[in-house]
């Protein structure tokens, strides 16, 4: 069922466009030195990211025209494909991997992160499975256990890459989706306990992860690779102050702050545009939450609701976790800011997610009155605010 003229959520589109503009601006200022040194072309990274954005928008335009129910029907296949990719990643020959770790699959120059695909595959699976007619959320074996198995498989494969950060994020997204779907709180507590146990086991056996965590506690001493990164990130943000030191003026990108245009691009934004810049960034993601949840509330069915919520949670949780890391609120997890950090898989998959949101929005728009009616009767002001935005 193709849609000729889909309804478009312009607020969502606008905030994502603004994020992409910020992204290109800061990828350029933060990467030009490195690009010049490494490739003799200061726009090297900029050009690549622009191509990815074009590709991502192509994906978005296609996906928003495909009925999300069709996607949900396909979700088991997508899930199996992503699971296969994760396994291939682990057993692939050395030349298919990037920089020693098995996070990226590099097949004849085309490089992507299977975990990003797996993340969205899981969200689709959750939306589909948790809205099956005979699922009873009150029963553990019905609701939580199958999901826990799916999540466990995916997380285990990702943690073997090793990618603790993404594992953690995928796990959190799953918990949130279970929560939204109405799982019993004590069921969730059990799942979280299992997750924590898994994390503890990982920490016990993987010294690299332990170091990361310890570096986090050692905080601002600048010791160790991670400690240094955090210290430099805080200096970037702190030195930026309220208004920043001016666009393009970052000194931290001069080899002080590692990864200044990928995971720590937020620090450079904070340095050059100050608190105003970082709060604006935060604001754009809050807009995305508002729009995403509004779309979820207006979705015609439970699948749509869960799917929209899952995608919104995935995007916003990544953004917040990233900022939590660069402000030294959370240990370094190595996850990007959606739409802003340099990198293709995350960008394309997030735009894929936005495409689904757009599609749900299109379907939901005809039924807009339905949830609105419920809200009208509600005493909750917050519901009105949420819906009204």
């Amino acid at each position: 069922m193709r849609i000729k003229t889909p309804k478009i959520d312009y607020s969502l589109l606008l905030s994502i466009t603004v994020l992409l503009v910020i992204s290109l601006t800061f990828i350029y200022t933060a990467s030009s030195t490195k690009a010049m040194e490494a490739f003799g072309d200061d726009t090297f990274f900029l050009q690549r990211q622009m191509l990815r954005i074009l590709f991502g928008f192509g994906v978005l335009l296609v996906i928003m025209r495909i009925d999300y129910h069709k996607l949900l029907d396909f979700s088991p296949i997508i899930f199996w494909v992503s699971l296969t990719l994760l396994i291939v990643l682990l057993v692939a020959p050395e030349e298919w991997t990037v920089r020693g770790t098995r996070r990226w699959l590099n097949i004849s120059g085309f490089r992507f992160q299977p975990s990003e695909i797996a993340k969205f595959a899981l969200i689709l699976m959750y939306a589909r499975v948790l809205s099956l007619p005979d699922v009873d959320m009150r029963r553990f074996v019905d609701s939580v256990l199958p999901q826990l198995l799916l999540t466990g498989v995916v997380c285990s494969l990702i943690i073997l890459e090793p990618d603790m950060g993404t594992t953690l994020m995928v796990f959190m997204i799953c918990i949130f989706m279970l929560f939204v779907a109405g799982a019993k709180l004590w069921h969730l507590a059990t799942v979280i306990a299992v997750g924590l146990l898994g994390a503890a086991v990982t920490l016990a056996f993987v010294p690299y992860q332990r170091t990361r965590l310890l570096d986090f506690w050692h905080s601002y001493t600048g010791k160790g690779e991670i400690g240094w990164q955090i210290k430099q990130s805080l200096i970037s943000l702190g030195n930026g102050g309220i208004t920043g030191i001016g666009l393009g003026g970052s000194r931290q990108k001069m080899h002080w702050l590692p990864d200044p245009f990928t995971d720590f691009i937020g620090s450079i934004i904070g340095e050059e545009l100050g608190l105003l810049g970082t709060l604006f960034l935060l604001f754009l993601f809050i807009v995305i939450i508002f729009r995403g949840f509004r779309i979820a509330l207006a979705a015609p069915d439970r699948e749509g609701q869960l799917l929209a919520a899952g995608i919104t949670i995935a995007i916003s949780l990544y953004a917040f976790m990233n900022i939590a890391v660069i402000t030294h609120l959370a240990p370094t997890t190595g996850i990007p800011i959606p739409f802003v950090s340099y990198g293709g898989s995350s960008l394309v998959m997030n735009l894929f997610g936005v495409g689904i949101l757009m599609n749900i929005n299109h379907h939901g728009s005809s039924k807009r009155r339905s949830p609105a009616r419920g809200i009208k009767n509600s005493r909750s002001i917050s519901k009105k605010v949420l819906y009204g935005l």
């Binding site: 009873d136 009150r138 200096i235 030195n239 931290q252 919520a309």
Partner: protein, 728 residues
């Protein structure tokens, strides 16, 4: 419809999704709120802390030293250069390994022990530490290849003494911190030392300086340069001839002083053994001693001017009355005094002329101790001259109450006293200049910005020269000294065209244990000045020789002659030497000289030595003409050349040869200048008249055989031929 049904079915069983959605939204907003608060805290409240942390890590203060002042000779030739080198520093905050590893990697290149380097890294507080100052640039580039993070290789300068051993004792040298250790470098260290500055440089995360981000620069102030009274040409001549003489006469040490008797300016001060100030540590302290001022020795006969000056000033002695010299052996107060040759009756002037000890002792006895003592004091013996160098010895001049019965006799012939070379030279200068004891000078002053020379104020200097002899006494004594050279012991010092006044000295060297004199060591000396009628140069030669060469007349006098001849030739050839005097070098010399060689002045040096020194610098040499000396060089000194470039040397010989020469243009010159030119061309002059040259034969430019007699006719014809009268 089916979609709606499924939704309702789920709602029935699992309840509405909305409350959970809202709860999730609130959780996310709470998260966002916490992050916003955290951002507010980091960026708004802790802003200044992080800003200062940022500055601390961006900025690094790199010290930058002011360049040390230079030293010029009186013709503004560079005696020392500031050569480009590098200093190795370490920015400790950027180290990517332990000090131990750094020490191990750097140890060999820096020629320091690992422990030394490690301690240095650990001990010095602050981020920046110098590991080694002033090492070769090659060492710097080798260290750069080690890729040790935080290592900074900073451009620096160090002393380079281009003339090697020449004037080394005067100049001294500096240590690795560029502080003067000896000589003028030490004496005027404060003047040479500039004021250090620093650059506040922004660095990037790899410790590299970001060139466009020099935040603040405190420019260093360069030290002041000093102009010496030393003449590089004279100094070179003195150094070379002293070395030749030392070899020839088996002297293990010695010194030569050349000074201007009218001004007290020291033109040259050379010592043997010498040393190369570029590598001072390779020489013993004894080699680095400026013996001309640090060593006091028994002067012997050269001291006899003291009793004779006193006699001339005194009315007690009739200087036209002969004295009996006892035929070489004389018992005096229980000791035997000997002369080198036996003499009978001699006029006092001849007593000095043949240097009779017996005659001197007898005359002095008649004169009395007080007159002798007072004259010695007047000449300044026993007191430092106040030369602008450190380490001068005062010598030893006993007060009368401490004299023994034999002291008067000993003192009169230069024993029981000690002098340094410079003291004695100044005493003779007083005779040469008509009776004034001068304040010696080796430093003319500071070189000011506009190129003029400012005097350096010093408490040591007594401004007014002291008159110690009447002009008559001085003139008479000068005649005596001329006679020494013409007829007496100083014959070996005679110059062909120029009248010389001087005195030989032969002294025994007291044993180190204080018991009597050594049998194998002697001090042979000659001090003289010329031209006697209007003295311009005074040379004092002291050679510490063996028994065989003990006599001043044997070794020191010929050395004097060789030096005097070369000086005379050089001086009177202004066209070859003086016109090219270099202006003070600009301050950029040291940086430009990285890839360039500054041509040294090799004029007047021995050809082989000149050739070798140029080749040592990496230059090629070609020559023109023949002879043992270099007359001129092209290009001139101070020119910057690249390795392999050619320097042409014009040779000349001081000896008559069979070669042909061009007849110089003499018409219009003063007789004196004409004579000098002819001397250079090795032509024998036949002079008629006096004053300016009006005619010459052969004509200028024509080829003449060297040694040929040429006729010069001057303005005022006279039967008297000045040239001959001057000599005889």
């Amino acid at each position: 419809m089916a979609l709606l049904n499924s939704k309702f079915r789920n709602d029935k069983k699992n309840g509405s999704i909305e409350p959970r959605l809202l709860a999730t939204a609130f959780m996310l907003f709470t998260f966002a709120g916490i992050i916003a608060l955290r951002l507010l805290y980091v960026q708004g409240i802790q802003n200044s802390k992080y800003s200062s942390d940022a500055l601390n890590q961006y900025l690094i203060k790199i010290p930058k030293d002011g360049q040390r002042g230079l030293i010029y000779d009186r013709r503004m030739q560079n005696l020392v250069l500031n050569e480009a080198c590098v200093s190795i520093g370490l920015d400790k905050s950027r180290m990517n390994d332990t000090p131990r590893v750094y020490a191990r990697k750097l140890s060999r290149l820096l020629s320091r022990s690992e422990t030394w380097i490690r301690r240095r890294i650990q001990k010095v507080s602050g981020d920046f530490v110098w590991l080694e100052r002033r090492v070769d640039t090659e060492i710097g580039s080798k260290i750069a290849t080690l890729k040790l993070q935080g290592i900074r290789i900073e451009k620096d300068t160090r002393r380079n003494y281009p003339h090697q051993e020449v004037a080394s004792h005067i100049l001294g040298f500096t240590d690795t911190d560029n502080r003067g250790i000896e000589g003028v470098e030490y004496y005027y260290n404060d003047i040479f030392t500039g004021q250090d500055g620093w650059n506040l440089i922004q660095r990037d995360g790899r410790g590299r300086a970001v060139p466009e981000h020099v935040i603040q620069a405190n420019d260093p102030v360069d030290g002041k340069s000093v102009v010496l009274s030393i003449d590089l040409i004279f100094q070179t001549i003195a150094t070379e001839e002293l070395r030749v003489a030392s070899r020839k006469f088996n002297a293990h040490s010695g010194s030569v002083i050349i000074l201007e008797p009218n001004t007290g300016h020291v033109l040259a001060m050379a010592n043997e053994p010498g040393y190369n100030p570029n590598f001072p540590r390779q020489y013993s302290i004894a080699s680095r001693r400026n013996r001309a001022i640090t060593d006091a020795f028994e002067p012997g006969s050269t001291f006899k001017i003291v009793p004779f000056a006193a006699m001339l000033e005194s009315s007690k002695i009739n200087m036209s009355e002969a004295v009996f010299c006892e035929n070489g052996r004389f018992k005096f107060n229980g000791r035997t005094i000997r002369d080198s040759k036996s003499h009978g009756w001699l006029l006092p002037m001849d007593v000095l002329g043949v240097s009779s000890n017996i005659g001197t002792v007898k005359l002095t006895k008649a004169l009395g101790s007080d007159a002798l003592y007072n004259m010695g004091k007047k000449f300044g013996f026993g007191k430092r001259t106040g030369i602008q160098l450190s380490g001068e010895s005062s010598g030893f001049f006993k007060d009368i109450p401490r004299w023994s019965s034999f002291s008067q006799a000993s003192l009169s012939i230069g024993q029981e006293t000690s002098v340094n070379s410079l003291q004695l030279a100044l005493a003779y200068a007083a005779i040469a200049n008509g009776g004034n004891l001068l304040q010696p000078r080796i430093v003319r002053g500071l070189l000011s910005e506009n190129g003029s020379i400012e005097k350096i104020k010093s408490s040591r200097e007594h401004a007014i020269p002291q008159r110690i002899l009447s002009p008559e006494t001085a003139a008479e004594l000068k005649r005596y000294l001329v006679r020494v050279v013409e007829k007496g012991t100083g014959k070996a010092a005679r110059l062909t065209n120029i009248k010389v006044a001087g005195k030989t000295g032969t002294a025994q060297v007291p044993r180190p244990d204080g018991n009597g004199y050594s049998n194998s060591e002697f001090m042979a000396s000659f001090v003289g000045f010329f031209p006697a009628d209007k003295p311009e140069y005074l040379i004092h030669v002291v050679l510490n020789t063996d028994r065989e060469n003990q006599w001043g007349s044997q070794s020191a006098a010929p050395t004097f002659k060789r030096i005097a001849e070369r000086i005379a030739v050089n001086l009177n050839n202004p066209g070859a030497l003086l016109t090219q005097s270099a202006s003070p070098k600009d301050k950029n010399v040291s940086s430009q000289h990285l890839v360039q060689i500054i041509v040294p002045d090799v004029r007047s040096r021995r050809f082989e030595i000149a050739e070798a020194s140029l080749q040592d610098l990496g230059l090629q040499t070609v020559f023109e003409g023949e002879g043992e000396f270099v007359k001129n060089q092209f290009p001139v000194s101070g020119t910057k050349l690249s390795p392999g470039d050619e320097v042409k040397l014009e040779r000349f010989s001081s000896k008559p040869s069979d070669g042909f020469n061009k007849m110089p243009k003499l018409v219009g010159l003063s007789l004196r200048e004409a004579l000098n030119k002819m001397a250079i061309a090795n032509l024998e002059p036949m002079v008629y008249g006096n004053g300016k040259v009006v005619r010459q034969k052969p004509a200028s430019g024509s080829a003449v055989k060297t040694g040929i007699r040429c006729v010069i006719e001057c303005e005022s014809p006279s039967v008297d031929i000045p040239y001959l009268s001057e000599v005889n």
